[in-house]
């Protein structure tokens, strides 16, 4: 009973907040609705027993990706009048993309449920007493090890690429050298002098 209520709660909230992402006027509000959608999607994952994926969804998407979205959107200087002016011009293209996407989704779903895939094997999770994380780990590090490593290399290349593209050397910037500072002792910077009256100190 609680499970069903929770499912409908999460499902309704996912759809409602996804709709609000599009309809919210303020882009920051859109990002907030997006976060709510991620959150409820994680709730749905929990209901099907994929607790590891649910937590990853929250950590990665809500905790990191959406924060970056929020950063970018907050910094934007958006002129709403200009945005709306382009609406009519881009409308046909947008509608076309939407229709194609919807058609593909319907097509894929139809093929999936009507095709020759063995229906009995489709949604039959293997019941074990191992936890979610152990099961995923066992698959990932044995059967899919090469794909896993390939994904790692792709991410590494992307990371290095992003750094190379955005890194620039600026001249005239004074950078703190921490180890040099830590090595500095009072004797290096100060000296005791005892000048006579009216003589002053030689610097």
């Amino acid at each position: 009973m609680i499970l069903i209520a929770a499912f409908y709660l999460f499902a309704t909230l996912v759809i409602a907040s996804a709709v609000m992402v599009i309809f919210a006027r303020n882009p920051v509000h859109s990002v907030m609705w997006l976060i709510l959608a991620f959150f409820n999607a994680a709730g749905l994952m929990l209901l099907v027993g994929a607790e590891f994926i649910a937590m990853l969804l929250v950590i990665v998407y809500v905790g990191a990706v959406a924060v970056l979205f929020l950063f970018v959107v907050m910094m934007l200087d958006i002129d709403f009048a200009e945005l709306r002016a382009g609406f009519v011009r881009y409308m046909p293209l947008g509608a076309l993309v939407a229709v194609i996407l919807a058609a593909e989704l319907i097509f894929a779903l139809g093929a999936w449920s009507a095709g020759k895939i063995d229906l009995a094997a489709r949604a039959a999770p293997v019941v074990t007493d191992k936890s979610n994380i152990q099961q995923i780990g066992e698959l990932l590090y044995t059967r899919y090890i090469f794909l896993f490593e390939a994904a790692g290399i792709v991410l590494l290349v992307a990371m290095i690429g992003a750094i190379v593209l955005t890194h620039r050397q600026r001249g005239g910037v004074r950078i703190q050298n921490i180890s040099e500072q830590n090595k500095r002792r009072p004797e290096d910077a100060t000296r005791m002098v005892d000048p006579g009256v009216g003589q002053g100190v030689e610097l």
Binding site: I35, V67, F71
Partner: protein, 347 residues
């Protein structure tokens, strides 16, 4: 607790619901009381180190100071700046406060005394603590004011940076404990140090991680010396500048609840949680919750001590510490720990 309610003749679903709500109240209400007292303790410790008296007027030894402050704040008018984004401005402190309470669901207070005994307890904590940043960013942005916005940017960069190294540090603990479940992590620490000491922290491989986790938890909760988000000499009061009355109090409560949570995590992950410090039978006569509280209070004392004695970091130094010191070391340590475990446990 559910079984007790069922034995009283309740339906199983109802019993579960009532037991959960009772559990939430059993954690949240004492936590609020603890936050009030810990604010008092913080001020007293800080005052003692600065050779002052601290709060000593309201109640015996000033014990009721926090309650007086709470009442005062409660009676004040809530001021919303005209140019603020009204909805988000009011939601932001609620997010901070709620998130600070949510993480307590998976903290084990004694053997089996945990509200939600889930397999992914540690990941849940990571997920919830990554949410904490939203309260800060939103309050900074919704205030529509310069200093809060600067503070929000600083806070989010700081929290995200330190969450990365916290994540790696936690992986070290998980590798040794062989579980993400908080209770299992505590149990794995029994007799961990030479068969006598109940703590991961006494393991030579894990001690550096324990130190880094303590420092990262200072940064994660934006406590001194990493309190750049509310550096009063630069940013007035940071993201809280435009807040007043209860919305301000919610930030305050959420912040201290987070500090307590981080102290608890230090105790649970590295210093044995509800286990007594030494694996010696008579010590188990003391209830586990008392050991846990003693450890939490010890770490809170360390937090206050650091706050009173260490000067504030500069922002670039903070970022350097997070990305150039903690991240490489914690990554290296994962290699060391997994190598060591492959040799000894799985080899």
């Amino acid at each position: 607790m559910t079984e007790t309610f069922i034995s009283w003749g309740m339906d199983a679903d109802w019993a579960w619901g009532v037991a959960t709500i009772a559990g939430i109240l059993l954690i949240a209400l004492p936590l609020m009381l603890a936050v009030a007292m810990i604010i008092y303790a913080d001020r007293k410790i800080w005052a003692a180190i600065a050779l002052r008296r601290g709060p000593n007027v309201v109640g015996p030894f000033g014990l009721l100071q926090s309650f007086a402050d709470g009442l005062k704040v409660f009676l004040q008018e809530t001021i919303i700046p005209t140019s603020a984004n009204r909805g988000l401005f009011l939601i932001a402190p609620i997010i901070t406060f709620t998130v600070a309470l949510m993480a307590w669901a998976v903290i084990p207070f004694n053997s089996g005394a945990v509200l939600a005994d889930i397999n992914v307890g540690l990941l849940y904590i990571l997920a919830i603590s990554s949410l904490g940043v939203y309260g800060v960013i939103l309050s900074g942005w919704a205030s529509n004011s310069k200093y809060p916005f600067f503070s929000a940017l600083r806070a989010s960069a700081q929290m995200i940076s330190y969450e990365v190294s916290i994540g790696f540090i936690l992986i070290g603990v998980v590798l040794f404990a062989d579980s993400f479940n908080m209770n299992e992590i505590v149990k794995a620490q029994q007799g961990h140090g030479l068969g006598i000491v109940n703590a991961f922290g006494f393991n030579l491989l894990l001690f550096p991680l324990a130190v880094m986790f303590l420092i990262s938890s200072l940064a994660e909760t934006a406590r001194a010396p990493f309190d750049l988000t509310e550096a009063e000499s630069e940013l007035v009061a940071g993201y809280q500048t435009e807040y007043s009355s209860m919305s301000f109090a919610l930030f305050w409560l959420g912040e201290y609840a987070n500090v307590l949570l981080m102290c608890t995590l230090n105790a649970v992950l590295f210093w044995g949680g509800w286990l007594p410090p030494i694996d010696w039978a008579p010590l188990y006569a003391v209830p586990g919750i008392i050991w846990l509280f003693a450890k939490i209070l010890f770490f809170f004392f360390v937090f206050s001590w650091v706050k009173a004695t260490v000067p504030r970091y500069r922002y670039d130094q903070l970022m350097r510490l997070g990305w150039k010191v903690f991240l490489p070391i914690s990554l290296l340590w994962i290699f060391l720990i997994s190598g060591w475990l492959m040799l000894t446990r799985y080899g």
